[in-house]
Symmetry: C2
Subunit: 191 residues, 2 copies
Amino acid sequence: MARPRTFDEDSAVEAAMRVFWRTGYEATSTQDLCEATGLGRSSIYNTFTSKHALFDRALRRYAERFTAVQLEAIQDSTLPIRERVRRILWSAVEPLPDDPAGCFVINTIVELGPKDAELTALIDRDQELKIDALTSAIAAAQATGELDPAQDAAGLANYVFTVLGGLRVAARRNAPRAQQQAVVETALRLF
Amino acid sequence: MARPRTFDEDSAVEAAMRVFWRTGYEATSTQDLCEATGLGRSSIYNTFTSKHALFDRALRRYAERFTAVQLEAIQDSTLPIRERVRRILWSAVEPLPDDPAGCFVINTIVELGPKDAELTALIDRDQELKIDALTSAIAAAQATGELDPAQDAAGLANYVFTVLGGLRVAARRNAPRAQQQAVVETALRLF
DNA sequence: CAGGTTTTGTACTGATCATTCCACTAGCGA
DNA sequence: TCGCTAGTGGAATGATCAGTACAAAACCTG
């Protein structure tokens, strides 16, 4: 019963995600969100309750999608560990052509990290998931002799994602691609 | 002739810097700036002309100060190159106790990078200065045989500052200090 | 002490902010 | 086809935004 929606909720979140990603939380107005999603104010508030809640939805969408891709790369046992790490780092160097610059998660840490404990917790959980997966993959590679077992697996995993963060900041600044590629190769020397 | 100021311009910029550093550009209101600096609106606009101009002043202050410290570390020839690099990375792991989390420059890249070409140019120049200095120091170390001359000096310098960026993002998220220290040690293995 | 000049506090501007309200519309079940 | 319910568009809401106008105040010079 009753009138059905004329829009797709999922693609509205997708559109909002891209605006927040490009522009940040504070600098994005509800008007911007209306224009980006094609929805009216009422529909946005009726569906998502607030700007902050929509931001939360958008961030979750982003994190889930990118984490899935990275977990897939990490767990692809047809590739040597070194190539899997390369794929992870490479994602920062060769983003999809019309994605906004940088990483939405890192933008959020920087902008809202000190102010929004809930979002920080969400991001921490996501980060831990990836670190754990990479740690396991590295440990497995050490067990097969593919990697020096003397190294601390968790430490290496942490290192990889820290470098990734640095690359994503560099991407936000439009650093030359060749430079970033060189950094990836340098970082990979430990593998 | 005429009435003198009752405040110190420099310490007003310092106070503004710390608010912008902690809170970002958009989320800092002129009211916040009044409270942080202890000045009235009139004095702020009379002295600094606009919020954006004050932000610019604050960012320059920050960049000049931190760049000076880092250049000093880079050029301290009493230390082996490895220790100099360690000092650079260490600054992200052990910040001064009541400084805001993270790095004001990186916060600015992330928040305003895509929107503010002038600030981006300022940051790029600053970054280049540091990269060049570190490149020279690495090349010198290679010449004395302290470091393998086969490595690309500029590439290594770039790598160091990319890792530093990653560490500073981690600091903004309050990542455990021990984890960050481990990352520093891992990154240093290339030296 | 008086004149000139800049600073300072306060009150105000118009714009924009996130959010809400309400009348209207559109579809589904009866 | 009628009535219920939920979605929609647009006009409000009051708060806050960056920036300004202006008069009173404070200091230096003469």
